[in-house]
Amino acid sequence: MRPKVDRIARPWGDRAPYGRGEAWPVRVDSYLEPGTTADAVERWVPTASLLHSNGDAMEVAVAHDRIVGVRGRPADRVNHGRLGPKDLFGWQANHAKDRLTTPLLRDGGRLVPCGWDTAMDRIADRTRELLDESGPGAIGFYTTGQLFLEEYYTLAVIARAGIGTNHLDGNTRLCTATAAEALKETFGCDGQPASYTDIDHADVIALFGHNMAETQPVLWMRVLDRLAGPDPPRLVCVDPRPTPVACRAAVHLAPRAGTNVALLDALLHEIIRTGRIDRDFVDAHTVGFEELAERVADTTPDWAARICDVPTRKITEAAEILGGAERLLSTVLQGVYQSHQATAAACQVNNLQLVRGMLGRPGCGVLQMNGQPSAENTRECGANGDLPGFRNWENDTHVEDLARIWNVDPSRIPHYAPPTPAMQIFRYAEQGSLHMLWITGTNPLVSLPDLHRIREILGQARLFTVVQDLYLTETAQLADVVLPAATWAEKTGTLTNADRTVHLCEKAVDPPGEARPDLDILLDYARRMDFRDTDDRPLIGWHDAESAFEAWQECSRGRPCDYTGITYDRLRDAGGIQWPCTEAAPDGTERLYTDGISWAAPDDCETYGRDLLTGAAVSETEYRALNPDGKAVLKAAEYVPPHERTDETFPLQLITGRTLYHFHTRTKTARTPQLNAAAPEVWVEVSAAEALRHDVAEGDLVEVTSPRGSVRGRLRITGIRDGMVFLPFHYGYWDTPEGHRPGTNGGRAANETTVTDWDPVSKQPLFKTAAARLTLVEHGDGTGSPAPTTTASAPADPRHIPPTAGGPAAVAGQSGGEP
């Protein structure tokens, strides 16, 4: 292993091979800013990564009250010392010159600096006016997957019991809502069944719409190290792009967009037809097998091959590998969650694991993933369209339990209808019944679909918007009040990754100017609103991160996500701990469902379920009849064609997605020199055949147009499937002259083109099923597209394209064995 590597050119660093069932070797990655040596570091402050969901444990190096670098923590269960490129370099965005340092208030059409008192009084006054005039339904909160657990929980109590509104959701609706919903539909309750350690034991890993190499690069290093070792696992990859995962797969299926259910139904058909089911497991732990078997009786590989445009032979090959696996691990991400029939498809992956009896044992399980660092916490805390602690809003006992913890009357917690999902909150704002929207740590003016519409909604004079962020984002530019927030390393709190591992992120340095931790801002608001409980005491009885965490522990007690055995001190000592962690399981819980299904009984479940096609609620009575003993539910689903079809005007299927080097709307990664240089500008991907058909070449400036809008970028020719065009969704306008919208050079944000359509079950918007056309704007000058060459956007013909590299500025340390 080399001591130093350019981690832009080699994002996954060097290999530390290991065999099946062995421990993953340690490799400690580190980066200090140029001119700083380890001797100059005054202290190392423990934390975990914020720019993806993997939860890599790391330490922040501080010198002269300034962050000067990071290193991985070798003893942590998640990463064994490794860091991804965004972990290594992304902290530099904290130092950006354009951080917000003072609250801003709109005055005469302009945002002008004001003090905290003025800003917070304005928000509290407007809240009270609206409560008097229109009631709590006029007020909504749209949060993120990037705050800390303590902040979401505080926000949830404010919204649900303080204001009494149903309108609280996160941008996690765009990334993890389907993961949560699929787990709820199958297992009755949210909670990640598997663990990252299952990669150490699996002999087959199936990745469904999950470009793990770019979304969770450290987890992918674990897979790469297994692939380099003895007895490597075989990979099955479903992805229309030639991702690094696809390149290493034993079978790569690249289906037409929007056809995941057809493909999965065919895989289930084959596995059942060939008798590769675990009948004892199915009988003991599931209901619904007969209906599933009937549903997939006719969904043959031939049938699916026609719908998905994938060779029949490849479907049977994939089924053969999945059916023959001894230890099967499946993972799922946005290629399923943001595509047509999202929840239905994600549930079929659960079904695959269940009919094969692959659950709750080392190497056997499903990872319904998420994308953001604390997406999991929004789900637990009830900031993602659920009640805190995975409580069921339709179960009066659950609501009473929550009301007891908060010491309020149950009627103060709205539970007459499901919590409102984000896209419906924006619809209420559009339609005029929602008058105040408080946006924390997210940038809907780049990340939501159909941006023309979102700009109109947020631009309405009748909508009072508060934006709490680090920078003057596209969204903040349209706000009525802007609140400067502290970020990671400037505040303390916990976050929980995609395999239930909780980490403590400690404050290392002070925030700039008057910026404040999000928790402090929310507590300030609660004080000004003077929310009270039944005994006239303050509704929110905590005052800092640790006391907020302790309040959350009580709320989680006895629930699936039980945190009562986790303390700040333990997290400091032990590093990451997986919930549930209780007196009975003091070291946390590696896998759920090791001894049957635990939270699906009618009195315990988080939901009674929904119809996978319509989203219609299953009633409590029906659920009791269907699943009296609380087993896993094998929910079958019929394939339905996508809503927006290609035609002569819009002949291409349009999908959007991400790149390794950026996170979300680039607010931090574009302010990180190494990351921004690796992917500086939006690009457009098509296959060589499609380029020929359109008479365009690598590097040409092209326009992608859908019925809603268009985007311009330089063309990259890759091995993506024919008939498809891909746009990265990260790019917006804050670093263009126009600031928050397209200028004369056309659109740059992929979401100018995407459709307003969401999965009726999980309510997750669909970014991977639209129709578009591609036209030439001007031929290039022979230089290639600015897309990275190291990832799924790698050029089909690399001969004339300079490889992506970071040079001396991106050289990071890596050392084996010793910290």
Binding site: G137, N166, R427, Q431, L613, A616, V618, D757, K763
Partner: protein
């Protein structure tokens, strides 16, 4: 006309009408995105049902019209019901129009559900296995249409009505 013929004709009319109403309502509420898309998805079920009913009716000497490729849009709320319909109908508010459409769709699906029930019953009485299979195959989807409209009303009405 025999009892079976009467039920088949009623059901055929009902499924064709529901398809038309679903498509028309989807058209009226294009900006209610979830409603719009799901209404179109489940209109397909009614279309299939009407086809299967017409096919099953042939041996019973009942010649029902085949499906139209492009069902005509229903006239604006052909089936407005009293008295809530009239009260709501005077309001220009699109939220109220949506609730009214959902309610009408729910009632239309309920009529179909009752017809499927009658068909299953008469099929058993007459020992007609084919008609019994037809009802068993189609009735569950009608019930799903019913549950959907009910869920949408439960979800949307607090906000749409409390904000008036």
């Amino acid at each position: 006309m025999t009892g079976i013929q009467i039920v088949l004709r009623t059901l055929h009319d009902g499924e064709r009408a529901l398809e038309r109403e679903l498509l028309a309502a989807a058209d009226r509420h294009r900006v209610e995105h979830e409603f719009h898309h799901v209404a179109r998805d489940i209109a397909r079920w009614s279309h299939e049902h009407a086809e299967r009913i017409a096919h099953a009716a042939e041996p019973h000497d009942l010649h029902l019209p085949g499906p139209t490729d492009q069902p005509e849009a229903a006239p604006p709320m052909a089936t407005v019901r009293e008295p809530l319909g009239r009260t709501l109908g005077r309001q220009p508010n699109p939220g109220l129009l949506l609730l009214r459409d959902l309610r009408d769709l729910h009632l239309a699906a309920t009529e179909n559900s009752l017809s499927w029930e009658m068909l299953a019953q008469v099929a058993q009485a007459a020992g007609d296995a084919e008609l019994l299979d037809l009802a068993a195959a189609c009735h569950p989807r009608t019930l799903r249409q019913l549950r959907w409209t009910n869920t949408m009303i439960k979800t949307l009405s607090p906000q749409l009505l409390a904000s008036l």
